[in-house]
């Protein structure tokens, strides 16, 4: 059965039309052929004898189920009897057999503008996977009914320690490496979250090895994460630069500085191809995709604000605020995602703060609070 949404897409594709010509060959058997029955049905419809037309047309489609013409006529007979669900079913069969059947298409659209009763399908025996799925669903039914509302929910978070391996990231005046601080902070956050037992957290790397930017969002997608948090330490040629800031993804950078940071973190070839729009076609899934992405970016902005507030309250660093830029590592994530720059490793004083376990604990605690703050 072709449903309305698929039909809308099909309409959107602008399939060529013809007048629905009989394409079957006339039977040379002794009895009446499908064509004979269809012809008789057509005459009965013209005489408004719809019940009789339905009966002979049912015989026509039984004899030749491939006749879009007979199915279309059967649809008209049902429509004449006000049996709209059956009419739509027959018209859909006609359209499926002959996508160019303009009349049947139009009738489906006209009838389905308003609610109609649905035809019931007979139940089928369950496959082994269906039985397993049913048992799984019964076992988890309690969890399924426990949530509500349109508030964004976070049940899984992926923590991404930036850089790693041969890519040390920024290096401080006394040799402290961004990759090591980021990993340590991520592990602290991961442990703190695990202690709560409320949500699941995953790390993109657990040791000192390099993973490319593309792998990081792949991991977030792998775990169906609800939030992606990438941890970095900032650096600047100006050693006086200081403070912590939070970034989220948007199509344009919020400032030149945000663009600079994004360019630094994005030091990788970008794979995205521009979306190729097809003229005269409405792609509903594309509309949903853009809608979803906008929601995630909006939500990312909210999370970024929350994180930055917690940093401002808890850390011994100046708050540099929230910024947006087009980060590769954030853009490919299929969930809200933020990038934290927790201090300037290039600043002598902040490098020394970042070496302290107590400061790292404070940063980790602020990150955990940021994650939980956004959780319903």
């Amino acid at each position: 059965m072709m449903d309305r949404r698929r039909f809308l897409k099909w309409v959107g594709k602008g399939i060529l039309s013809s007048s629905g010509v009989w394409l079957g060959t006339r039977s040379i058997a002794w009895g009446k052929s499908a064509f004979d029955y269809a012809l008789e049905g057509q005459d009965l419809i013209a005489a408004k004898r719809f019940a009789e037309a339905r009966d002979v047309l049912m015989e026509a489609v039984r004899l030749d189920p491939t006749s879009d013409w007979a199915h279309g006529l059967l649809g008209r007979a049902y429509h004449g009897l006000n049996q709209n669900a059956e009419a739509v079913e027959a018209f859909r069969k006609a359209v499926r057999l002959n996508p160019a059947d303009t009349y049947s298409r139009m009738m489906i659209e006209i009838i389905t503008q308003k609610p109609i009763n649905k035809l019931k399908k007979p139940p089928q025996p369950l496959s082994p996977l269906e039985k397993k799925a049913k048992a799984e669903e019964e076992a988890m039914l309690g969890n399924l009914s426990s949530e509500g509302g349109l508030t964004y929910q976070v049940k899984r978070v992926v923590i991404d320690p930036g850089h790693g391996g041969f890519d040390s990231g920024a290096v401080g005046p006394t040799g402290l490496k961004e990759k090591d601080v980021a990993l340590d902070l991520a592990q602290r956050v991961n442990q703190e979250i695990a202690k709560t037992g409320k949500i699941k957290s995953f790390l993109t790397r657990t040791d000192d090895y390099y993973i490319p930017l593309s792998d990081r969002t792949v991991i977030a997608n792998q775990y169906q994460a609800d939030l992606f948090v990438s941890i970095h330490i900032n650096a600047n040629e100006n050693r006086k630069a200081q403070g912590c800031e939070t970034y989220f993804c948007s199509e344009t950078a919020s400032s030149k500085e945000a663009a600079r940071v994004a360019a630094f973190e994005n030091a990788v070839l970008q794979y995205d191809e521009p979306f190729k729009k097809r003229p005269g076609y409405i792609d509903i899934e594309q509309i949903l995709f853009h809608f979803e992405r906008r929601l995630y970016w909006k939500e990312s902005g909210k999370f970024a604000g929350t994180f930055q507030n917690h940093f401002q309250q808890a850390l011994p660093f100046k708050s540099r605020g929230v910024h947006s830029a087009n980060f590769f590592v954030l853009r490919r994530a299929k969930m809200p995602s933020i990038l934290l720059e927790t201090g300037f490793i290039s600043n002598h004083a902040e490098e020394s703060e970042l070496k302290k376990v107590s400061v790292r604990d404070k940063i980790a605690a602020a990150v955990v609070r940021g994650i939980f703050h956004g959780r319903a």
């Binding site: 303009t102 139009m106 048992a135 509500g148 509302g149 899984r156 593309s214």
Partner: protein, 262 residues
Amino acid sequence: MDVHNLIFQGADYHYKGKLDEAISKFQAAVKMDPQNEYAHNQLGILYAKKERFDAALSEFLKVTQIDERNTYALLWLGILYMKQGNLDQGFARFQRIIEIDPTNADAYYFMGAIYNFRHNTARGIDYLKKARDADSDEPDTHYRLAQAFHNLDMTANAHLEYQRSLVLKPSYTKAINGIGWIYYNRGDRSAAIAEWKKILKINPKDRDAIFNLAKAYNDLAWEAKERGQTKEAISYWKKTLGVDPKNKAALSYLKKYLGREP
């Protein structure tokens, strides 16, 4: 010419992709019969296809003024509001459709999709199951339902729904991608890799499949390297480059362990 002929001609032009001709027929039809819901709905769709979204919205609003139970117009209003990024207005239209027609698969689908976007997957499942039960022949419904189950670690249900979407649309690469992750997270990496390779046969440029395979080979390489099996690790990094020739991790580690540019 009577209105029915205009409408039939407009519909025929529409299906032939002659949008301007179709618009002119339906415009003539609504001039002759301003209460004709079908003609207004068709104009709405045609304007949307021409990217005249405000005009499209206006046509669907006219239909709901003629009959507020026209679920087709309500559905498109919901879709257009979503296109504008207006969650509340879109959501309200889909809710209204369900009040009018509790078996409307499309409205349940969009509600389920919205709950999925909010990562309220339990609610998403609730609505998407209703969409599926009202119409089981829509691959996108099965796919989004699978995603929701997957998010809740209900992998048997996720696998089943991914498979159902593939029965209806064998080229549904996102569903194959999801099945790959079920295998991968279960520890069956070769099965996962086989799934993602299937995607590349359908679309050699599929970025999800490319990056997933690259990640899988990099993981295998790193594990082999950790076991001291450098030769094996090298063979996996080479495989990474086979799918993702500019993968920075594979390039760097190969350079390091081969002692030269790969």
